[in-house]
């Protein structure tokens, strides 16, 4: 994977936490998307993507997140995003209305807690 962005994954039960570092643009959006799919695996029910260490993300990145959410919904999986306040990325996401489609938290703890509350819905 190029040095423009790289991905770290961590498993917490059925939750897969993916930290993305660097920048996401048209040149690597596809790559990052595939990488996330690979590290997530089949077992995780919920995917939390932490964008705290992302320094640049434009509409190509937004499109990536939307496609990812779509795919997960099709497989009855959940996607949560973590974007801290004051992040350069926050402005794009807010403007494009992404938070209305994908749950977005400022802190990782909130995202993980949010996931706990929604779990019963997925597995009645």
């Amino acid at each position: 994977m190029s040095d423009l962005a790289w991905v770290e994954a961590e498993r917490q039960g059925t939750i897969c936490l993916v930290r993305v570092h660097g920048e996401i643009d048209l040149s690597n959006a596809h790559e990052v998307s595939s990488e996330i799919s690979v590290v997530m695996g089949q077992e995780a029910r919920t995917l939390v993507v932490d964008l705290s260490d992302i320094t640049y993300l434009d509409s190509a990145g937004v499109a990536l997140l939307l496609r990812l959410a779509e795919r997960l919904r099709f497989r009855r999986r959940q996607l949560h995003l973590v974007v801290p306040r004051g992040s350069p990325v926050r402005r794009v996401l807010d403007f494009t209305g992404l938070p209305r489609v994908i749950p977005l938290e400022s802190r990782l703890e909130d995202a993980l807690a949010q996931r706990d509350s929604t779990q019963p819905d997925d597995f009645p």
Partner: protein, 841 residues
């Protein structure tokens, strides 16, 4: 001389011709003739022997003959009149006088007519003329006047009948003498004096001759009858020296003297009777006349003959001369032609020799194929090219093609067949083919050929050349390889990186200018950082070059994958170990983050990079040094970092720059630091100065040099990149630097960065479809407001908004003003945003 050929003849009209021409001149002529005749008759009668009217010398007859010959027979009335006048007083009556006059007229008329008939010439310069005047003009014709005259005398009773024979003889002799003596004399007077310039001594001679003749005649004839003949030699002299012109007057003189003597009865005529005297006188006169005539005529004829001979000889000589000159001209021409032919043969031989030499030198052979005779001839060089002794064996088309390698022979055969099908003169396509010589050597030949057809368009002959291009093809191949290697060694051009000035040099070793092992490279990394490398493979030539080429490509590949310089160098180290490259390989690899000015680097046994600060202080980067590549040194090479501020200069070089004969490397490095301190603004000039002061002309080692200097991006900047996704990250790097150096507020800088990213992404995705095209970004900062203009040369497809419809609104949200202008030549997006409170710079 030719004019002498004219033959005087009587006028063709006969007796009356002159009268019809000019009546007055005719009358004058008649009168003149009459007067002259009359005068001469009176003189002649003085010498009368018989009575009063028979004289042994009768000049008027001669006058009459001359008048008829020269003026024309038409003047006969003058003669008749004068004769009548002469005879009247001495005749017994008018009738006898008229009859005698008729006889006197008729005789010269007959003489003139007969002379004209026999072709008499007035010049009397031939024997036949002499003969004619003697026998025809004198003796024959004058019998008429004698017969008529004496007959009249007898008939008139003036002369007794028994004296008739004597009288007739005297008359006849007198008339004949008149013709013989007077006619030539007068004719010689009226002869045209055509030969001018007669020498003076000739006149003197003539005068002496006549004086002598007169004296001798008078003395001899008057004194002693036996001395009469002394005049003969004088006549001979006159005839011999003056021909008719001399002989006639001399004869006249002698005859007059003799006749006078006879008439007076002096000298030899003292004792004899009249008849005896007459006989003697006539015999003497006849002798004189004949001698002088014939002698003169013979001399003249001889002279003419001699002249004719001379003329003929001269003509002959002229002809011989002419012929000789023609012959010699022909001969000269012939000799010239022979010389020319020899020269052209010599030239031909020389040319043939030169051609053969030229063929040998150029390795070009020539051949000719005479198609109807199925004959093929090869030049000597053809045999040599094919590895045979020149003219060692007879060639046919088949044996020639047999020498060619099988696959090429097929091509040659089909080419030849196709050519023979075409019924015109033409060049065959050039063909390159291989042959195998008898010794097994393979040669590459280039064949050219031309076909000539005959008048009925049937193929006549094919000629061609064959060039041995084996060496050329080999050299070309080697050259191509070397060129490819060279291209592999060094970048075609250095990348244009915004905010960074670059210059590089490569100087081959002075001795052989051969490709060496030094190299450098500049790589734009995906992160937007710049990879800088310089290296050295020990040794020269294609081997070192090929090793270097492999290393350079490997470094590029690793650098694109691996952001850490130490890791890249480590991988190269493993590669060199694994490939068992025998050469010592050193290199230093640096990654420059232009945004921050940070440089990370790793050094594999290479001379340390040099940094020259803004103030000119030079420092060597001696950290991060490891072993040369391939030394099986375990562990990663050390990695070090430093900060390269804008305006500072980074110098990468190979050892050729600092290693001089007779000086240590340390001395070289010190010298380098001194020279580099004055690096100046222009990096190209800096490189030149470095090479001039550091490198000797005949350097044994090659030298590579790479100079880098970050320069401020503030103010106006123009970036031009291909519209491809990979340019986005480096563009952001540049833009970030520009915004930072423009003192932009970080939050606002982010917005501008995002807006630019959105527009560029759109251009890359939509402007050119599947094609390639340029993307141009110009940056301008005025009074704290950043203006970014992004252009392309394509067309945004109608459906292409900016990302799902929120692209353009997003940009408008991020920037204060956005103008989008689309047209057939491309689309321009101009955006502005105030980025700082200051005035910018």
């Amino acid at each position: 001389m030719a004019t002498r050929e004219e033959t005087p003849k009587a006028p063709p009209g006969g007796l009356g011709t002159a009268a019809t021409a000019h009546p007055w001149s005719y009358a004058a002529g008649v009168l003149l003739v009459a007067v002259v005749y009359y005068t001469a008759a009176k003189l002649g009668l003085r010498l009368a022997l018989v009575g009063r009217n028979i004289t042994p010398f009768w000049p008027p007859t001669g006058i009459a003959v001359v008048a008829f010959l020269v003026v024309g027979r038409s003047v006969w009335p003058g003669v008749a009149l004068a004769a009548f006048m002469v005879n009247l007083p001495i005749s017994t009556g008018v009738l006898p006088a008229a009859a005698t006059a008729a006889g006197n007229t008729l005789a010269p008329l007959v003489a003139a007519t007969l002379l004209a008939k026999v072709g008499f010439r007035r010049e009397i310069d031939r024997q036949r003329d002499a003969t004619a005047i003697v026998f025809v003009g004198a003796l024959l014709s004058m019998s008429i006047s004698a017969s008529v005259g004496t007959g009249v005398l007898v008939a008139s009773g003036a002369l007794p009948a028994d004296e008739l024979p004597g009288s007739w003889a005297v008359w006849w002799a007198g008339d004949a003498m008149g013709v013989l003596v007077v006619t030539p004399f007068v004719l010689s007077l009226v002869l045209p004096w055509r030969r001018p310039g007669r020498p003076r001594w000739k006149h003197l001679e003539a005068a002496v001759l006549f004086a002598l003749t007169a004296t001798v005649s008078v003395v001899a004839i008057g004194a002693d009858p036996h001395l009469m003949f002394l005049v003969i030699p004088l006549l001979g002299w006159a005839a011999w020296r003056f021909q008719q012109r001399g002989a006639a007057p001399a004869a006249l003189l002698v005859v007059v003297v003799a006749s006078w003597a006879a008439a007076k009865g002096v000298g030899p005529f003292r004792a004899g009777t009249m008849l005896e005297n007459m006989l003697i006188l006539q015999a003497f006169n006849a002798t004189v006349a004949f001698c002088s005539f014939f002698f003169a005529a013979v001399v003249t004829e001889r002279m003419h003959a001699h002249q004719a001979l001379e003329r003929a000889a001269a003509g002959l000589e002229a002809r011989v001369r002419q012929r000789t000159s023609q012959l010699s001209a022909t001969n000269l021409q012939l000799r010239k032609e022979i010389a020319e032919r020899e020269e052209s043969e010599r030239r031909l031989r020389q040319r043939e020799g030169q051609l053969a030499e030229a063929q040998q030198v150029a390795h070009i052979g020539s051949w000719e194929w005479v198609i109807p005779q199925r004959r093929v001839s090869w030049s000597d060089e053809m045999y040599r090219i094919h590895g045979h002794v020149p003219q060692g064996f007879p060639v046919t088309f088949e044996t020639a093609v047999d020498q060619v390698n099988t696959e090429d022979a097929t091509r040659i055969r089909s080419n030849a067949e196709a050519s023979l099908q075409r019924a015109d003169d033409h060049d065959l396509p050039n063909i390159e083919y291989r042959i195998t010589r008898p010794d097994g050597a393979e040669r590459v030949l280039l064949g050219k050929a031309k076909l000539y057809v005959g008048p009925n368009r049937e193929p006549l002959r094919m000629v061609g050349t064959v060039q041995d291009v084996t060496e050329g093809r080999k050299a070309e191949r080697e050259h191509r390889i070397a060129e490819t290697l060279q291209r592999g060694l060094l970048p075609d051009r250095l990348p244009e990186v915004p905010g960074m000035a670059l210059a590089a040099r490569y100087v081959p070793a002075g001795a052989d200018m051969a490709v060496g092992g030094d190299w450098y490279d500049v790589v734009e990394l995906p992160s937007g950082h710049i990879g800088l490398a310089i290296g050295d493979v020990a040794g020269h030539g294609p081997r070192a070059a090929s090793t270097m080429g492999q290393l350079r490509m490997a470094l590029r590949a690793y650098a694109l994958e691996e952001p850490s310089p130490a890791e890249v160098v480590s991988r190269l180290d493993r590669l060199v170990s694994r490939l068992l490259m025998p050469e010592i390989v050193t290199l230093v690899y640096l990654v420059l983050d232009l945004d921050s000015g940070t440089v990370q680097f790793a050094n594999a046994g290479h001379p340390p990079p040099l940094v020259v600060g803004l103030g000119g202080q030079a420092s060597l980067l001696e950290d991060g040094l490891g072993s040369p590549l391939g030394c099986d040194d375990p562990g990663l090479p050390a990695q070090a970092s430093f900060r390269l501020d804008p305006g500072s200069t980074l110098l990468l070089y190979t050892d050729g720059l600092v290693e001089q004969r007779g000086a240590s490397i340390d001395e070289g490095l010190e010298r380098l630091a001194t020279v580099a301190a004055e690096c100046g603004q222009d990096l190209e000039a800096f490189c030149e100065r470095l090479l001039c002061s550091m490198v000797e002309d005949d350097t044994a080692d090659d030298v590579a040099l790479l100079v880098i200097r970050p320069v401020p991006l503030t103010g106006r900047s123009l970036l031009r990149v291909p519209a491809e996704p990979r340019v986005l990250a480096p563009l952001r790097q540049t833009l970030r630097r520009w915004l930072r150096e423009s003192d932009a507020d970080p939050q606002i800088a982010n917005d501008v960065l995002l807006a630019c990213g959105e527009v560029c992404t759109n251009v890359i995705q939509h402007a050119y479809g599947a094609k390639e095209g340029p993307l141009e970004i110009s940056l301008d900062l005025r009074d704290g407001t950043a203006e970014v203009t992004i252009r392309d040369q394509g067309r945004w497809r109608p459906s292409s908004g900016i990302h799902g419809g929120h692209g353009l609104p997003l940009i408008q949200e991020l920037m204060e003003s956005v103008e989008l202008t689309g047209g057939p030549d491309g689309t321009v997006v101009r955006m502005r945003r105030r980025v700082s409170s200051g005035s910018g710079s």
